[in-house]
Amino acid sequence: MSMNNKVALDPQKSVVVEACAGSGKTWLLVSRIVRLLLAGVKPGEILAITFTRKAAQEMQARLHEWLHFLAVQDDEEVKKFLRERALDEIDDAVLARARGLYRDFLLAQPAITINTFHGWFMQIIQCAPLNSGVPVGMQLLERTAALREEAWQAFADSLRAAPEGETAQAMQWLFTEYGLYSTRALLENFVHKRAEWWAYTNHLPSPASGRGAGGEGAVAWAVEQLRGELQVDLDADPVADACADASLQAAVQAFAQTLASGTETQCGHAGKLQAAWELADARQRFAALSAALYTQADEPRSFKPTKKQNAETFLFARDALFGKLQAVRDALAERAALRMNQAALHCGAALLEHYQELKLRSQQMDFTDLEWQVCRLLNQSDCAEYMQYKLDSRYKHVLLDEFQDTNPLQWQILQAWFSAAAAVDARPTVFVVGDPKQSIYRFRRADARLFGVVREFLQLEFGAHYLTQNETRRNAPAVLEAVNGVFAPLPDGFVDFEEHIAHHQGLPGHVEVLPLAVAAKADTEETRDEPLSLRNPLVEPRAEVQSGAREMEAEQFAAHIANIVAHWSVQDEGGVVRRAAYRDIMVLVRKRIHLRVYEHALRARHIPFLTSRRGGLLDTLEAGDIQALLTFLITPFADLELAQALRSPLFACSDEDLMQLAADAEGSWWSRLQRIAQSNTASPDLLRAHRLLQSWLGLADKLPVHDLLDRIYFEGDLLHRYAAALPAELHETVRANLQAFMEIALNVDAGRYPSLPRFLAELRELRAAENEAPDEGRVGEVGNALRIYTVHEAKGLEAPIVWLLDANDTQHKPDSYGVLLDWPPNAPRPAHFSLFSDKRGRGVRRAPCFDADEAYARREEMNLLYVAMTRAKQALLVSGNGEPAEASWYGRIAQVAGQGGNPLLAAAHSVVPAQEKLSVEVDAALLHPLPVGQHAARMTGEQRRGIWLHALLQHLVPPNALADKAILQQRFGIPSAEMESLWRQAHHLLALPALQRYFDPQHYRSACNEMPYVNARGELKRIDRLVEFDDEVWVLDYKTGETANPAPYRTQMLEYRTAMQAVYAGKTVRCALLFADGTLCEAG
């Protein structure tokens, strides 16, 4: 059921393609670009938006590759290529055009735009009209955690300054209700959703500050809006009303009576109900009623009729009472929700203001601001139109990749762009590719529903064609069988699913579901009688508490991996079958939380692996070592840091060394090390450490951080020493991490106002910032290692063998303390915006919204599974632990996985050809330092003054003297302190009667300063002053030295004379040295 490429690639048509995983979306997009170019579209007229930078780069690379292909291949190949891209009529003209594309494309100005949304937005912002209110000269802020922390502190400070103010009161209330932690989470989540908040309140008249929507008026409006939705009547008192309500009383009585006819417990409850109603105070009465009917966890108590009771009357009375009570409780819940929103929106808006203010002050803007500013910009029709012609590129063709990951704001921006384009009669064709099944970025505010909406929009407005593609070029039929099996029954949230078909029907494949790991029941019963004996910590380590089901799964996993690498084969692109290697295996997990357990098992079997553990770099031991060392270098009294550096492989000092330092009880450890080093009792390791540390301490405040680190790496022989100390499977990772650390330093040094303390402070901030800390280093292409990713990260990747770990986990924590949002995909602004706390305080009015949210979350969970399964080219393995759960990923796959044999368990026809290593002879001299170059001796003050004096002389000599003192001073950078005396000295020299002959034009025929000549050997020489008289020529050489000794300059003078004699053949050439004091000294 291959899709109709004729339509999809037709440059004239707008098209929406819904394409399954592995169906070659990049192929399609890039093919379309080639077709556009062939049709004469200029690169600058094409805008392609991808979801990640990586995808953009890949697309760009693919495009180059193909255009190169077209430029160099034989006609037949080119024709075949074009036919594959649904181009039928290929005449010579087409061929010629195809061949020329490469060059035209590469050198085109403006170039094609292949970018992410954010990259493109940045381009737009940078040339936004000056009067649009978009701040000028903003930088993009990629890591926001530090600034958010700062904003939080600033917010707290503002509260401290006005502890009785409205905001402080509201905060106090929030603290009482939710505590510090949850309150902050709530407000931070509000700030995170600020774009939606602004969109929600944008239509309100903005406050005078001009900073847009979202201020106080907005809060009041939003609260009022919410009050309406929650149907809260502020004047009513639901508790009092209920307690005064006779029908409630009747219901209580009725149920109490019914209960009283039952068991002893039931009688007890009846009593409690009766007693409750008798309480006079309405609040107490209601509380007592609630306590009688609801558990502490706020669940309704279960009341069941006994055999003796009339079930019907019992249930009727029960339900009537619960119904009435629940109504009141719900009303209370809505009130509470409203109260909470009142306080939290108020505080959230205040916090937000601080955050925005901070960014504005530092001229920065984060991704959300960027999106919002662009959206605002393009929604002003004047500006939107202006942008159409302000960019150098005028897009006639827009291509959008991974459209399911677009968020409503981005779609609005596109819409605004399209309509502005229409307004200037330049509506582009639009090409959209996406797969709602792969929409997994809700947490980044993507909305997969947009896909359908946009499809309809484009069909209607652009006459777009809608195509679907369910043939995949990636997966083997066996894998697809499982995929189809899981998704054909339309699990959670799936409304339609079309069966996938494999392009490579012959590709061997295998799906394997490993048995669930179940923990053996530990005997919890302790034998009490045994005499108490306590563990001796010196000899007996404490047993790890774990060794549960997960550990078993991990063990099973690691063992099987070893087996796969030993016995399985995979098939390469070209159809060559070869032995599977570690690098062929991609391991997927949903969350990172338990990764350590699995990594542990891999390590124990010496299986090399790479975890793209986001943000892990600074927590690794090796990065910790370097940080400790650097900290020591600027705080030499940091004993523990010094000790860590000493124990690290860098110095590899022993515990004996440490104990020697500890034994000396005086002063810091550094002072002790110094003493011991001098006392002849230090071990060689300690001596080496002392020597190196001493020298680095001296450099710490002189060298830039990167240069200092480089010295440390080099002089400490760091990489080699780490390699020696660590097991082989860690080498690559540790090395990559150490280099990644170096790169951070390199980047920081290139930043403004660097210093080592600031660098370390920044590292601390980075470490504290969740999700934003630097990633661990990437191992170069050489490594053969298993790769572990989360499913989110694996998007866009594939591997011959994919292993889904921990797939039986069904727990997912419901969100709490967040923003509840209803933004219909095509609406300009959200229909609902409110904050919620935990499950309990949600009320019923917002239930549909919560339900929709939850349904959406479940659907995304299935999308995630879809993405995970479709990464596998040939083999999909699934493992899990715990009790069987049908709805888990594991359960779903287990139900459809067949029992077939494993075709991958076959001998490889060919072993991987070992990469042909060029053997290169290494010149042994390359292994040793090669001292080259030198530091010029620093000029003495004397020398510098000499140079200045020369310069002044040259410019003050008549004729054409440049007499402006200030200009001369500035031009030669002469300090004010020196200028005066130099100025005087120069004038003094020029005025000396004995020198008039050489300086006063009346006395000579011609003269020139700084005169260059070249001698027969090609040497360029320069004469300070050459004065030509009728019969002789004088060469003057200015000297700054005090002593008038011409001896050292004899050779030089001789050279001048010989040279000038050749030029002025008929004249006598005389040479003289002119000293600063005015002494003229003729040479030899």
Binding site: T176, L532, P537, L730, E781, L926
Partner: protein, 938 residues
């Protein structure tokens, strides 16, 4: 001196210079050997030397007086004109003021707009663009250029530029751009000498105009390297690939093969071309090769290795042409490792240098009221207090830092003074005010602080002129000894010079600026000016593409040549777009790109040993080669079957590193298990020490035998442990006051406890609003606490004592010590020890589950011979005692016996292994010492 080389063996570049030389000599043949009448316009002064040599070669004279060889800029500078030129600093303030007055941009950074505008105005001047008098006409012009209807945004743009252009040119001052124009005009007017011009790329409009005018008076001969290269057969492939007409790659390749079979770049131009020899042969020497690295590090290492290979091969001049400064910086460091110094021709902006850091950190410190991090950072700069020895300065700052850390003082100069005087009234966190060591010489710290205070005084004002601010800055820097420090540094000197120049230029300017505006201005200046380091002399030099025009090197390394760096993208102006710039007569991006392409062509034509490097992948993403080089590679491959890839280097650089391997490598890491000498075995132990010993003997060893601690950090917010301390304090005070609760009405108790709580929290709440949240949290627990306490009393327990320190000698050599939160008694004499824990009961229960793993309660029980012991778990609305599940006296006894046994074993030489369980390791500060993650895999 060697005799001058015969041009027959000369490099490609010599051919170019020889033709220039021949021209000059021919033109001045009657004046030889005095060529002084000729003028040669150079792209840069490095070209003078080879040109002089070429002249000498061609003239064959013993000496030749050379033509004036000068760059156009310098030549223009020789013309003096009136009136004086207004410096850009003054123009910027004028423009700033104009913008300020017009209130066009509300929140915006006016300095940013000012500098954007100034450069636009300069460009307009340079290119002789005059805006129409009438704003309406200008708008119409824009409208046509944009090919669009006018609208508000366009009108505004037109208005801003038009109005300010006229405002700025109205005052008749002479700016640098105009001055240059006048000077060039004069030069052209007075032209008498024949002019020779060396070009590598198209002339910009002002220069072209000048040459035209000049040519009216005297002969002008232009040597354009592009045209000259086109004549050279060995440049054929370069020429075709970079500048070729629109013909197709395959045709070009055929053309090359037919007409230039020897022009392949994969053999030296002197050897005859043998196409077949390329295939399979391992080593080919190339004019040009390309190396795609897989990371920044690899690129840098490849560059470093190649430079050293060249040096070893005897190359005398090697240029590192850096398109990417980051890589260049890395390469330079790697070369320095290997002893190779690099002469850096390209500058570094001042804002990236440590000499500016000291300046800005000083201003930061002032602004943040001496926030401790800014302050310490400032004091750790090597440029401050340069009149003292570094040793003295460091001593003082370390002393101050220790005090600051110990007492947790976050900011305020006064607070630091108090610290230094040792009179701190601040509630020190736990430790005595001043260690004796520090008290011995507080004067150094005090002196440093006093200088800071004095220097701060100088800058204490809200508004001033830029000149005034700069003077004040200068004064403050002088007080701080920073001037002296900077003067001793090459970059520092240049910075001081720049500050002085600005001060002089702005002396007469009387626009006033707020502190913030001034700072912003200063930051912008530091961003805009560069430092050049002239102190190194080396055959290896670092430079940029535009600086290589007409230069020849023995070898050239082009760094960072990916698509995003070559052609480089300067971010462009916010004004107009290329279409408009084009119609106005301003250079467009196309011009800029073409210039870079020409520079590249010139570089490749002039040099016959070139290695290009780039990162073929970057952070795991593909990264494309520069389109120029990609074209060149494609054409070369097609024509000569070689894609120019450098293959050896990748292999070589793994093996060809310089190492400091003067010391044996360490052994593979293993679990440490030190045996501790008697002298280090402690004679006292606390319950928490014992806990540590049980959890992991190595941790105990590091903490209590090596006696290592983490550095104190200045904590600004309230943390959980503060909360714990305060609650302890509150309960202690409360029970001292109310030993028996039953005797008081509950409301009174609650009130009293509330009161004490507020009191204890008061200082914290004062400092930090968020402390309230903690107070509230505790207050919510108060009713539950009272309930629990009353329940205890009902069971007969009476509060006896709290916060009791104890010492319990266990043996001659070991004493147990500590402090018990609370002791209760019953009337029958039973004793109970309690320990408050702000922790969930379930967690406490699991702590106590395994006998002997948490020793606190049993130890306390032993000390007080208690019958009962419990943790009191205090949570928001729950307060419950948690007791060990074992028989307490038995447990206590067993714990003490084990302690003694373990100590005896330690004394007997038992080792202390590092075998904490993961739970213990998770928060262990000693993980860097035991290095568990290094060996646990093994």
């Amino acid at each position: 001196m060697e005799p001058i080389k015969d041009s027959g063996t000369q490099t490609a570049s010599a051919v170019f210079f020889d033709s220039v030389a021949r021209h000059i000599l021919a033109q001045h043949k009657n004046e030889i050997p005095d060529l002084r009448r000729a003028v040669v316009l150079l792209p840069n002064y490095h070209v003078a030397q080879p040109l002089a040599q070429a002249l000498a070669r061609a003239a064959q004279q013993p000496a030749l007086l050379l033509p004036e060889m000068i760059t156009l800029n310098d030549w223009a500078q020789t013309v003096s004109i009136e009136p004086a030129v207004t410096p850009d600093t003054c123009r910027a303030t004028a423009l700033y003021q104009a913008l300020r007055a017009r209130r066009w941009f509300a929140d915006a950074d006016l300095w940013g707009i000012t500098s954007e505008l100034l450069s636009l105005l300069d460009e307009l001047t340079q290119h002789h663009v005059t805006l129409p008098h009438n704003e309406e006409d200008f708008l119409a012009q824009l409208e046509r250029a944009y090919q669009a209807r006018r609208n508000a945004a366009m009108q505004f743009e037109a208005r801003v530029v038009h109005e300010l252009w006229y405002a700025m040119s109205a005052d008749g001052e002479l700016d640098a751009a105009r001055a240059r124009q006048q000077r060039l005009a004069q030069l052209a007017q007075q032209a008498d000498a024949p002019l020779v011009v060396l070009l590598a790329s198209a002339l910009a409009a002002p220069e072209a105009r000048f040459l035209e005018a000049y040519a009216e008076h005297a002969p002008v001969k232009v040597f354009d390297l592009r045209e000259m290269a086109a004549q050279q057969p060995e440049c054929a492939v370069l020429q075709l690939a970079l500048c070729g007409a629109v013909s197709h790659l395959r045709d070009q390749a055929t053309h090359l093969r037919e007409h230039f079979p020897q022009a392949a770049l994969n053999h030296p131009s002197t050897k005859p071309s043998v196409l077949s020899s390329v295939e399979g042969s391992g080593r080919t020497e190339r004019r040009l090769s390309l190396f795609g690295a897989h990371s920044l590090e690899q690129e840098a290492r490849a560059a470093e290795a190649q430079v050293r290979r060249w040096l070893l091969a005897g190359k005398q001049s090697i240029a590192l042409v850096a398109q990417d400064r980051l890589v260049a910086r890395r390469v330079r460091a790697l070369l320095e490792r290997a002893g190779v110094l690099v002469r850096d021709e390209s500058g570094w902006t001042f804002s990236t240098l440590a000499v500016s850091t000291v300046l800005m950190r000083w201003l930061d410190a002032l602004q943040s009221d001496f926030y401790h991090q800014d302050l310490l950072d400032l004091l750790k700069s090597p440029f401050i207090f340069a009149d003292q020895s570094a040793q003295e300065r460091k001593q003082a700052v370390y002393q101050l830092e220790q005090l600051v850390r110990k007492h947790g003082v976050a900011s305020h100069l006064d607070a630091f003074f108090e610290l230094a005087h040792g009179e701190t009234g601040a509630p020190a966190r736990g430790t005595p005010v001043c260690s004796p060591l520090l008290r011995s010489d507080p004067s150094a710290v005090q002196m440093a602080l006093a200088r800071l205070r004095q220097a701060a005084e100088v800058l204490r004002k809200n508004s001033d002129t830029l000149g005034g601010w700069l003077r004040a800055l200068d004064d403050s820097l002088s007080i701080l000894g920073v001037l002296q420090g900077l003067a001793a540094d090459e970059a520092g000197m240049q910075l001081l010079q720049a500050l002085q120049t600005w001060q002089q230029e702005l002396a007469a300017d009387n626009t006033r600026f707020s502190r913030a505006e001034w700072r912003h201005w200063l930051a912008q200046q530091l961003d805009a000016h560069t430092f050049r380091d002239f102190t190194i002399d080396s055959p290896v030099l670092l430079t940029h593409l535009a600086a290589t025009r007409w230069r020849h090197f023995d070898a050239v390394l082009l760094l960072g040549c990916d698509a995003s760096h070559l052609p480089g993208t300067d971010s462009g102006s916010v004004w107009f777009n290329d279409a408009v710039r084009g119609t106005l007569g301003l250079p467009t991006r196309e011009v800029d790109v073409a210039r870079q392409r020409d520079d590249l062509l010139a570089l490749l034509a002039m040099n016959d040993t070139v290695l290009v490097t780039w990162q073929a992948s970057k952070n795991g993403e593909k990264n494309l080669l520069s389109p120029y080089l990609e074209m060149l590679r494609a054409l070369h491959e097609l024509a000569y079957g070689d894609e120019l890839a450098e293959r050896e280097l990748g292999v070589l650089l793994e093996q060809a590193q310089v190492r400091t391997a003067d010391f044996p490598l360490p052994d593979e890491a293993a679990m440490p298990a030190p045996v501790v000498p008697q002298s280090l075995i402690p004679r006292r132990i606390s319950a928490s020490g014992y806990n540590s010993l049980v959890a992991c003997p190595y941790q105990f060893y590091a903490r209590h035998m090596l006696r290592l601690n983490e550095l104190d950090e200045v904590r600004e917010g309230v943390e959980k442990r503060d909360y714990g301390e305060w609650v302890h304090d509150i309960l202690h005070r409360f029970h001292q006051q109310f030993p028996v609760l039953g005797e008081h009405p509950r409301a009174a108790l609650e009130q009293a406890l509330q009161h004490i709580s507020s009191e204890v929290f008061a200082p914290a709440v004062e400092r930090d609003y968020l402390a309230r949240a903690w107070l509230l949290r505790w207050q919510q627990a108060i009713p539950a606490y009272l309930d629990a306490q009353l329940k205890g009393e009902a069971e007969g327990w009476r509060y006896q004592n709290g916060e009791v320190p104890f010492e319990l000698p266990l043996t001659e050599e070991l004493t147990m010590h500590g402090r018990i939160d609370r002791v209760d008694v019953q009337s029958e004499g039973a004793v109970r020890v309690l320990d408050y824990k702000m922790m969930e009961a379930t967690r406490l229960r699991s702590k106590l589950k395994e006998a002997g793993e948490d020793v606190q309660l049993p130890c306390y029980a032993q000390v007080y011979e208690a019958d009962e012991a419990a943790f009191l778990s205090i949570e928001q609305d729950k307060v419950v005692p948690v007791v060990p599940p074992q028989d307490l006296p038995e447990l206590a006894q067993a714990n003490i016996e084990r302690l003694l046994a373990v100590f005896a074993q330690m004394r007997g030489g038992a080792a202390l292994p590092a075998h904490g369980v993961d739970e213990a390791c998770a928060y262990c500060e000693m993980r860097g010492l035991c290095r568990k993650s290094d060996w646990s895999a093994a």
